[in-house]
């Protein structure tokens, strides 16, 4: 089916709010090319469980497209219209299954050497939409904190190499009470500036603070049951005769929170969906806590666009060498603090990069701290770049330097 054949009934399977938006934008959808519309619908079909910032982005995008004249729209869509699609793609039920269409479209674009053209078109389109989006003031400048290195006593790995050119490297931090101060800080920000899903705390172990109003909490430990259930499902599909990777991808794309034991309504349902997506879309998130924290922080920043984020990396399990595996003894997971510190150092860098993609990046602050040690890296408009500061500071004093 081509988009110009769309009608409202075809969206009857969409959740209520998504359906309402789809029917409202039906005329627009009929004018969009097949290489574009299902990708938009892949976002829209999850509208009811999206974070406020995501909804706003999607609304802006639809408003941008709707505001174009027919000629302008055709011009904006021309790079997508030019892509050659197969007859099989046209036959896919892309209204009801836009994610599956997206998978097949991706494979088709790679196989027909059109992925680069698509990539160029997509980047250009996103730039135009972002440039046209209204600038919304933030309630306060963003602050992201990455805490790395739990469980490491001595370290010789040069930390923050990628971040040092962006800010100040502090090596005289008094670690006493530092973690507690950081927790206090994010809880206070959440209380003073209540924004739905505007303040996040992600932990690679267990959550270290009581439930706090306005603070979205995600932790690796709390999802242990979900992770186990998911790995078991994946394993059964991937065994010979189980369906293979294609079936696995479909299964993961269709997985709902209740399938892995997560329940909840309202905001809890939105957070449950987010957590399921972390475990089903993120590679390695089911097995390694460092990957879980990095990917969760990335997705929280990309999707929820929080003004506050605290991400704490904890030791992941050690990867067994072949020698160990062949020892034939079932061993309990052994933590690897030293390797995890290196993972987390890179994770902190990626977290900063992802914060920089958001609005207000020039006013944002970032802090990475080697937990229980005296090393930290701070980036802020109030601080110079590429400097080292050996001052003796406690965590409160360090935080004050950011503002």
């Amino acid at each position: 089916m081509q988009p110009d054949q769309l009608n409202a009934d075809q969206f009857s399977g969409y959740p209520p709010q998504a359906r309402q938006v789809a029917v409202h934008r039906l005329e627009l959808f009929r004018q969009l090319p097949l290489a574009f519309l299902p990708l938009l619908l892949r976002e829209l079909i999850a509208y009811d469980w999206k974070f406020p910032a995501e909804r706003s982005d999607l609304d802006n995008q639809l408003a941008y497209l709707s505001a174009r004249s027919s000629e302008q729209l055709a011009d904006a869509m021309a790079p997508f219209t030019k892509l050659r699609l197969s007859a099989e793609l046209v036959e896919v039920n892309w209204v009801s299954e836009p994610a599956q269409f997206s998978e097949r479209l991706t494979a088709h674009l790679w196989a027909t050497h059109q992925i680069d053209a698509f990539r160029t078109a997509a980047i250009d389109y996103v730039h135009k939409v972002n440039a046209a989006a209204p600038s919304m003031p933030l309630p306060l400048p963003r602050l992201t904190i990455a805490v790395i290195g739990a469980g490491v006593e001595r370290n010789s790995y040069p930390l923050f190499r990628r971040l040092r050119p962006q800010g100040v490297y502090f090596n005289g931090i008094d670690p006493q009470n530092g973690w507690h101060v950081l927790l206090e800080t994010i809880v206070a920000r959440a209380a003073m500036h209540p924004v739905p899903f505007g303040h996040w705390y992600i932990d690679g172990g267990a959550v270290a603070t009581p439930a706090s109003p306005g603070l979205a909490c995600v932790s690796y430990d709390a999802l242990q049951g979900v992770r186990n259930a998911l790995v078991n499902k994946m394993r059964s599909v991937m065994q010979p005769g189980g369906g293979g990777p294609e079936v696995l991808r479909t299964m993961l794309a269709q997985m709902r929170p209740e399938d892995v034991g997560l329940t909840g309504a309202g905001e809890a349902a939105v957070l449950s969906r987010f957590q399921v997506s972390i475990l089903t879309e993120g590679s390695g998130t089911q097995l390694f806590s460092t990957t879980f924290v990095q990917w969760s922080a990335r997705e929280a920043l990309r999707r929820a666009q929080p003004v506050t984020l605290l991400a704490r990396f904890t030791p992941r399990q050690r990867e067994q060498s072949m020698k160990d595996l062949l020892a034939g003894i079932e061993q309990a997971p052994v933590p690897d603090p030293a390797g995890s510190l290196i993972d987390a150092d890179m994770g902190a860098y990626y977290t900063w990069l992802n914060q920089q993609r958001l609005s207000g990046a020039q006013q944002s602050s970032f802090l990475a701290w080697f937990e229980n040690h005296n090393e930290a890296l701070a980036i802020s408009p109030a601080l110079p770049r590429g400097k080292t500061d050996e001052s003796a500071l406690d965590m409160r004093q360090l935080l004050r330097r950011l503002t």
Partner: protein, 382 residues
């Protein structure tokens, strides 16, 4: 970011400057150096070993300043003896099996990366064996991943099974060996592909079985499993098997696909770095094996090249080193080291070449005609 061409050129220039500083290599030698040594006619003792620095390694962790510490063997030992192509562009699908198959056919293959299918176009092994009338024992592939079991021969009607290479999947053999002895714990070892970590495909290719390995390599199952117990990774097992092949069969065309680096898909940077360092070391071990084995010493050309890179840190569509999904220019731009008799030493070639040029280059060296390959022979090493 710029176009693929622009970025590829920038990457190549960066690599050239670094190599010049680190090893003293110069581009000028490519133009004005002495002609390569070669016999009037290549005696048919000439051999080729291809090693894919596999699993996708980025410049940041290899040739850029912070990455140099991870590849000491390449930089200090191999590159000073090699011609290095700094701009090898892969315009194909960036999945490991399909990309490695493309390297082996000289054509950008387009099949499903996760399917156990043969390449559509003839492989280098088939050209080699058919044109030069070489026996099956003269072309071998060693690959760690079960997904590579069909890489030895294509589905092309004019070539195919009669001309393919033998394929050894050491991990698979080890799994079989342990299964036969009732030992557990091998399921994880058989993890085939870090993109789909639980995928173990059904096999239906030309890979050899356990008893064949024992017979061909004069290696008992007990000795094989005992040695495996002393190794840290599947790639170490692959290199061990490759060395056994060199000792027992001395194939003229040997292809070793390394894959440990693909652990990056798990998102663990430290394990990714460990794997790069291990791969660097294993490349050195293979070169040492070539230099010390009388069947190979002085008559073997070694090619080392990644199948492709990984996503850049700054591409918003990716997650940095973890994947190779965006198709961004950095993930498509790699390098190649060529060394051996007749290949100029300590030379850097900046011009853009393609990963599909490998097979035509080997064809020109060994004297077969890869008729359907899309690439062109690399004159700088011929």
């Amino acid at each position: 970011m710029g176009t693929l061409r622009q970025v590829a050129q920038r990457v190549a220039l960066s690599r050239r400057e670094f190599l010049r500083a680190a090893t003293g290599a110069g581009a000028g030698a490519a133009l004005f150096g002495l002609a390569p040594l070669r016999g009037a006619d290549l005696p048919y003792g000439r051999k080729t070993v291809v090693v894919t620095f596999g699993g996708g390694a980025r410049d940041e962790e290899t040739f850029m300043p912070d990455g140099q510490e991870n590849i000491p063997t390449l930089l200090k030992r191999l590159i000073p003896q090699a011609t290095v192509f700094t701009q090898v562009v892969n315009r194909g699908i960036l999945g490991h099996y399909v990309a490695t198959a493309s390297l082996a056919t000289g054509v950008y293959e387009t099949f499903n990366n996760f399917a156990a299918v043969a390449p559509e176009n003839p492989t280098v092994f088939e050209y080699f064996r058919r044109d030069l009338k070489r026996p099956a024992s003269d072309a071998w592939v060693v690959a760690p991943s079960n997904g590579f079991n069909r890489i030895g021969e294509s589905g092309h009607r004019a070539y195919g099974p009669s001309f393919g290479a033998g394929v050894i999947l050491p991990k698979r053999l080890l799994g079989t060996a342990l299964s036969a002895t009732g030992e557990a714990q091998y399921e994880h070892l058989l993890r085939d592909n870090y993109e789909t970590p639980l995928y173990t495909p059904q096999l239906s290719g030309s890979e050899i079985e356990l008893h064949q390995m024992a017979e061909l390599l004069k290696l008992s199952v007990e000795a094989f499993t005992a040695h495996a117990r002393s190794l840290a990774s599947p790639d170490e097992l692959s290199v061990y098997i490759a060395r056994q092949l060199m000792r027992q069969l001395a194939p003229s065309l040997l292809w070793v696909t390394l894959h440990d680096i693909d652990i990056a898909h798990s998102g663990t940077y430290s394990l990714y770095i460990d794997a790069i360092q291990r791969t660097d070391r294993l490349c050195g071990e293979l070169w040492s094996a070539i230099q010390t084995h009388p069947e190979y010493a002085g008559k073997t050309t070694l090619f080392i090249l990644p199948d492709f890179g990984r996503d850049s840190d700054t591409d918003p569509g990716g997650n940095g080193f973890q994947h190779h999904r965006t198709g961004d220019p950095l993930s498509r731009t790699t390098w190649m080291i060529v060394m051996g008799p007749g290949v100029r030493e300590n030379v850097v070639v900046d011009r853009a070449v393609e990963s599909t040029d490998l097979v035509p280059t080997i064809g020109s060296m060994l004297g077969f005609s890869p008729r359907l390959a899309q690439g062109r022979p690399l004159s700088e090493v011929l």
